[in-house]
């Protein structure tokens, strides 16, 4: 092919050729329902949202002291409101 821009890119070709994909067995007719797919999506492993905080000292302090402070505020709040 005269328009093939990969023609002279042997190194790139050799690298791209290493990218193999294993095709699983996919049945044609047994399609999952939308709801099942949504549940699967919700149940798939997800990133821990607190992970980035744990990597810094300030983040660790916030994760540790945050719940204590929240608890303290919540316990003092009724006293301030009702007394």
């Amino acid at each position: 092919m005269s328009q093939d821009p990969f023609k002279n890119e042997r190194f790139l070709q050799s690298k791209l050729d290493e990218y193999h994909v294993k095709v699983p067995d996919i049945p044609l007719h047994s399609r999952k329902k939308r709801w099942e797919r949504f549940i699967n999506y919700l149940a798939s492993p997800a990133k821990n949202p607190i992970d980035p905080m744990v990597s810094t000292l300030n983040g660790i302090m916030l994760v540790k002291t945050g719940p204590v402070l929240c608890g303290a505020v919540l316990s003092v709040l009724p006293v301030l409101v009702f007394v």
């Binding site: 328009q3 821009p5 190194f11 690298k15 994909v21 044609l28 990133k47 949202p49």
Partner: protein, 179 residues
């Protein structure tokens, strides 16, 4: 292979249900590979393959041989379904960021990872062009029709993507260094 696929599609349009099964066997692999290399999500790729063929069954009369190969037509359906799904996921993630799936890629060889990473690092507009051109042997015209962009844009994006891949993967000098 693709001439055979076109013949099977015509037979299916004429009512031969067995041709659909054969067409599926012939093209599910290439479509899965395309979607998987683009998204690196196995479950999404399986869903897209099934949805593509369901859509084909629902609108089999819309395919016209003069307009192009059945493989290009199916890549087009798969690409649109995949982009719709990925955009919908992006919206969900903006509401519920903790739903972001973790990367659970298997680590094989260092080299193999680097080519995967380099392909994944290409932008959303450049990645499908490299995949369709290199792995699926589509011409510039066919890619233009699958992605619904001008042929000139395909050429320029392909040129840019090759340049970017070479930067990411290193050049010939890396071969001699590693030997």
């Amino acid at each position: 292979m693709f001439e055979r696929a076109d013949e099977l599609m015509i037979a299916y349009q004429q009512g031969d249900m067995e041709s659909l099964d054969q067409l599926y066997l012939l093209l599910k692999g290439p479509i899965y590979s395309f979607v998987y290399r683009y998204s690196r999500d196995e479950q999404l790729s399986i869903d897209i393959v099934q949805d593509t063929f369901i859509k084909l069954q629902r609108s089999k009369h819309l395919y016209k041989r003069e307009k192009g190969k059945i493989s290009s037509y199916l890549y087009q359906i798969a690409y649109r379904l995949m982009i719709d799904k990925l955009n919908r996921r992006k919206k969900w993630r903006s509401f519920l960021p903790f739903l972001t799936p973790s990367d659970k890629e298997e680590v094989d060889l260092a080299d193999r990872m680097s080519v995967r990473e380099a392909v994944a690092a290409l932008s959303e507009v450049h990645r499908p062009i490299v995949l369709l051109f290199y792995y699926h042997d589509l011409t510039h015209e066919e890619i233009a029709s699958v992605l619904d962009i001008p042929k000139g844009t395909v050429k320029s994006r392909l040129h840019y993507a090759i340049k970017k891949l070479k930067e990411e993967l290193g050049g010939e000098e890396n071969v001699s260094r590693s030997l």
